[in-house]
């Protein structure tokens, strides 16, 4: 079966800076792939290319067999995205916003059930601007899930969440993978990667420093030790 996400020799430069200098990796349906790397390593650029927000200079990026740049609405309907900065309108309340986002899809999840599952119903009357960071994370995650996507790109989905909420989100992500979704999680948390990931991709200085099944990658050591051995302390 073809990979759901396939990145091959992907390149992107911003002036003299090579954000991506030939990155290759794949992710399959029904799995969680964690992408780790220092700030400035190229993770965000790579994921934004896969989300259709940036255009690659070279190489190839395929999601569900399609080049994400300029992809159709039908393609975008199959891809759920949770951005690091949330992307939630400042004056909207969460349930109204989720109900709105759900109208962009033909067969969305019922918003009430999703809001309840993520505890959003407990702050249903709070506008985005007055929400805590953790509350925004939950709404952004719900917005990524509401269209029943086949692929999920989640940027630091549990940053700012308390331990209970973090467990809830991890359960939710695993259950999405179990229903066949290809989940790509960008994270700085080794614990998150170890709890969630089937595969890990470590990005450093615009290239893939290492990748593989979690057990193969760590092979007798911890993910944290492996990460520090592979990545420099300072990047661009």
């Amino acid at each position: 079966m073809a990979a759901v996400v396939a990145v091959e020799d992907l390149r992107k430069s911003f002036g003299p800076v090579h954000a991506l200098a030939g990155v290759s990796w794949t992710a399959d349906a029904g799995t969680v792939t964690s992408v780790l790397g220092p700030n400035g390593a190229g993770k965000t650029t790579m994921v934004e290319i896969l989300e259709g927000l940036q255009r690659a200079d070279g190489g190839s990026a395929r999601v569900l067999g399609v080049d994400p740049w300029g992809a159709s609405a039908e393609h975008r309907a199959r891809v759920g995205v949770m951005l690091q900065d949330g992307g939630l309108p400042a004056r909207s309340t969460p349930v109204r916003l989720l109900a709105h986002v759900s109208r962009l899809y033909a067969d969305p999840l019922p918003v009430a059930g999703l809001a309840e599952r993520l505890g959003i119903d407990r702050f249903a009357d709070t506008i985005t601007r007055r929400m805590s960071g953790g509350q925004r994370q939950r709404v952004a995650l719900a917005a990524a899930l509401v269209g029943r996507p086949d692929v999920l790109f989640l940027d630091e989905p549990t940053a700012g969440l308390d331990p209970h909420a973090r467990l809830d989100v991890w359960d939710l992500i695993r259950s999405e993978a179990q229903r066949g979704v290809c989940v790509v999680v960008t994270t700085h948390s080794f614990e998150e990667a170890e709890r969630l990931a089937d595969r890990v991709v470590i990005v450093s200085e615009g290239t893939v420093a290492s990748q593989g099944a979690l057990g193969d990658l760590t092979a007798g050591t911890t993910l944290e030790e492996r990460y520090f051995a592979l990545t420099p302390r300072e990047t661009r």
């Binding site: 989300e51 259709g52 927000l53 609405a73 039908e74 975008r76 309907a77 199959r78 891809v79 995205v81 951005l83 690091q84 900065d85 949330g86 992307g87 939630l88 309108p89 400042a90 004056r91 909207s92 709105h100 986002v101 109208r103 962009l104 899809y105 033909a106 067969d107 952004a140 917005a143 269209g147 029943r148 996507p149 086949d150």
Partner: protein
């Protein structure tokens, strides 16, 4: 398998969402309705201020079309620039670009929401003007509608240019400053009442041109082609510049 809602449903849903957001924003309502209404009342009733009306012409016949032009600029330029600037900073534009709505759908929906809000403004402000004795030349209505659409296009293009290039705080400052400048420069009152140099500048601004075009249409004084050309040039130039330099992320 997940699927997108039909294009029309997506754009209509986003337009409704944007319209409701605009109408529930107190500051936006102040600039869009309350301040233009105060300008309409003040300039109509304060007979000491010269507004360049013809002999025997009611003051409100000059003031009302200008106030409608101000309403267009409030919503299509100032309101859009500020909301787009802050949505860009907050990642809203990027997020919606990844949904089935997409960037093109978002632009269409925003323009539709602006037109809906403008119609509401016209009903409120036009109703108030009629109550104050405004007697427009109804035969000029089709031409006025054309200028309204062109003025909206120019304003939205300028709003996207400002919002897509500057930081959100700078957008807030520039959009409000330009609103005040245009308010005093030919939007509400005819450029002809200013000194020659100022009048020339006023006729070159999109606000001044739109004000003059709406006054001419509703006063039945023909079409000032120079102003029509100015507004068209602003629309094309700002649209091309926005298409070239607009950045979707902060």
């Amino acid at each position: 398998m997940s699927a997108a809602a039909p294009t029309r449903a997506r754009v209509a849903a986003q337009a409704r969402f944007e319209t409701r957001t605009l109408l529930s924003n107190g500051e936006q309502l102040l600039v869009a309705v309350v301040l233009p209404a105060l300008a309409l009342l003040g300039l109509t009733l304060a007979t000491g201020i010269g507004i360049g009306q013809a002999a025997g012409e009611p003051r409100v016949d000059v003031v009302a079309p200008g106030v409608l032009a101000l309403a267009v600029i409030s919503t299509a330029f100032t309101g859009q620039a500020i909301s787009t600037g802050f949505d860009r900073r907050g990642g809203v534009l990027r997020f919606l670009g990844t949904t089935p709505l997409g960037r093109g759908g978002l632009l269409l929906a925003r323009v539709a929401a602006v037109l809906v809000v403008e119609v509401i403004q016209f009903l409120v402000l036009g109703g108030l003007a009629l109550a104050l004795g405004w007697r427009p030349h109804w035969s000029g209505l089709p031409l006025a509608m054309l200028w309204w659409v062109l003025g909206t296009a120019a304003s939205v293009a300028l709003a996207l240019l400002v919002a897509g290039v500057l930081r959100a705080e700078a957008v807030l400052a520039v959009a409000n400053l330009l609103w005040v400048v245009m308010l005093g420069l030919g939007v509400v009152l005819p450029a002809g009442r200013y000194p020659a140099g100022t009048a020339t500048v006023a006729r070159l601004t999109p606000g001044g041109a739109l004000g003059e075009l709406l006054r001419s249409a509703f006063r039945g004084t023909g079409t000032p082609w120079w102003e029509a050309l100015v507004l068209l040039v602003w629309t094309v130039a700002a649209g091309a510049a926005a298409a070239r330099w607009f950045r979707w992320s902060d």
